[in-house]
């Protein structure tokens, strides 16, 4: 009961902050929309896509890129919300959270879930705008994509949490952009299908295949078209487990994330 009360309060707080910071919401939405309307529109002529699952017909590049951009929203938010924990701005509220009389893993999980739910709302807004633009998925897809976004969002949030606890050099967001977000995003199937990558270099394709973000994007892509990609789900779940264990290890009080403040 105490656990549920704390979880509800953490979710409520995140929701209120989300509603209160409309600027942040718009900013987070602009990024994928720029990719969709500018990058993808210019790129559609350059890239020919053959029919690959889950698509049953020829698709335009805009259609291909939408799941990857959902992944991008999750990736940015996951990094941002987890890393904001260790910046001074949020340091106090993190202390408040971690001194609550509840297991630390539960408090961190609650925080992670709250951040992920906000990301899902942003994905929903993005998909709605894409639909207005004419990029539509089947109705079933919009339902099935929710658990896919949840699993992927938790995985990427756990990655951020892990980084925030174990890596001391990533002191600012620019560092995270360069060393985490960009490599993860570009070395994935978000922008090009893996077979296209393989045409350029099989080794590049292999790297992409190791990237958990690729599997998150594929999970979202298949779910959006009403299909379950079991392999991708498995990979994302494994990555979630791995990152969670590492994050808990990093937040172990015997080691102490605040240890850096020597």
């Amino acid at each position: 009961m105490r656990w549920a009360i704390a979880l509800a309060a953490i979710l409520h707080r995140e929701a209120l902050r989300f509603v209160g910071q409309r600027g942040r919401f718009v900013a987070a939405l602009v990024r994928p929309l720029v990719w969709l309307f500018v990058f993808a529109a210019g790129f559609r002529a350059a890239l020919g896509l053959s029919i690959t699952p889950p698509y049953q017909t020829y698709i335009t590049y805009e259609v291909y890129i939408v799941p990857g951009l959902c992944g991008m929203i999750l990736l940015f938010n996951g990094m941002q919300s987890s890393l904001s924990l260790v910046y001074d701005r949020e340091m106090g509220s993190m202390r408040l959270l971690l001194t609550a009389p509840l297991p630390r893993w539960w408090l961190l999980f609650s925080k992670l879930l709250a951040g992920t739910l906000v990301s899902i709302l942003q994905c929903a807004a993005f998909l709605a705008i894409a639909a207005l633009w004419g990029i539509r998925a089947p109705m079933l897809g919009y339902v099935m994509v929710i658990p896919a976004l949840l699993l992927s969002g938790l995985m990427l949030g756990a990655l951020g949490l892990m980084l925030s606890s174990v890596i001391k050099q990533l002191e600012n967001f620019a560092g995270v952009m360069n060393f985490v977000i960009f490599p993860m995003f570009f070395l994935s199937s978000a922008l090009y299908p893996l077979w296209k990558m393989a045409e350029a270099s099989p080794r590049l394709r292999d790297l992409c295949q190791l990237n958990p973000f690729t599997h998150a994007v594929e999970l979202i892509r298949f779910a959006l078209y009403g299909q379950v990609n079991g392999m991708a789900a498995l990979w994302v779940t494994l990555a979630l487990g791995l990152f969670s264990v590492a994050a808990l290890w990093g937040y172990d009080p015997a080691r102490g994330v605040q240890n850096r403040k020597a």
């Binding site: 009961m1 009360i5 707080r13 209120l16 001074d88 001194t99 009389p101 015997a254 605040q258 020597a262």
Partner: protein, 239 residues
């Protein structure tokens, strides 16, 4: 009935020893100033007392409960005011209080009643709906203290709670917390400002990670001002 017992606590950041064999024992209902210059180890001690770090050696007992063995039960008996601000500036005063109550498992009408009581005690009942951003620094700190007492702890820890406040707010908050101790709360107040300490207070003087004095302020200072005693004992590097 014991308030807060610390025994043989040591902590190191790698090779750098931050606390060396720190021990003290605060009885219930006592105001104790943890006095030390910057870098004495006060913040490290606070991180250990609040369970943010755990020490490889030494024990902490809060109201009779061992923090290492039963961290959650011990934390439930402890109120903490951190040096860093911990309020959500864009949420209302009331919402901040309810969020904290929920973290301690208090919800519904009980949480509302306790938030109202805290606000009434602060004389801020009519500002409950305002965003915290609109409050001045003194009010924010008063609010954090009231919030730290919502779950009715037996021990209150404050880490340099008057940093950045003007003289009037500083005096008001210092007096307020002294009154709380008189009412039966065990208070550990970390500071490097000797004018926040009253003669009857217990003073634990921390210097380079070691307790170098532990007595009432009156006994410690003798005929001189506490500030002079403090500077003398810590080699003058507090100024």
């Amino acid at each position: 009935m014991t308030g807060l017992i610390v025994s043989n606590l040591s902590y190191a950041y790698g090779a750098k020893q931050a606390l060396r064999d720190v021990s003290f024992d605060l009885p219930k209902g006592r105001f104790c100033a943890l006095l030390g210059p910057n870098g004495a180890g006060k913040s490290t001690l606070f991180n250990l007392l609040t369970g943010l770090f755990t020490a490889p050696r030494g024990d902490i007992t809060v109201a009779g409960i061992n923090l290492g063995r039963q961290p959650r039960a011990a934390l439930a008996r402890m109120g903490v005011v951190f040096q860093q601000p911990t309020l959500d500036l864009d949420l209302s005063v009331r919402r901040n209080l309810l969020y904290f109550a929920a973290l301690h498992g208090i919800a519904g009408p009980e949480a509302a009643a306790r938030a109202d009581a805290a606000l009434a005690q602060l004389g801020m009942a009519e500002r409950a709906g305002e965003k915290v951003r609109g409050l001045n620094g003194g009010h924010r700190r008063r609010m954090e203290i009231a919030r730290a007492l919502m779950h009715r702890p037996e021990v209150l820890l404050l880490d340099e709670p008057t940093v950045g406040l003007d003289a009037a707010s500083r005096a008001a908050i210092t007096a307020h917390v002294h009154a709380l101790a008189d009412a039966g709360l065990t208070v550990l107040w970390a500071t490097h400002l000797t004018d926040e300490v009253q003669d009857s207070d217990r003073v634990i003087l921390l210097h380079k990670g070691t307790v170098i004095a532990d007595d009432t302020a009156a006994a410690l200072r003798g005929a001189e001002a506490l500030r002079d005693t403090f500077l003398r004992l810590t080699g003058g590097n507090a100024a």
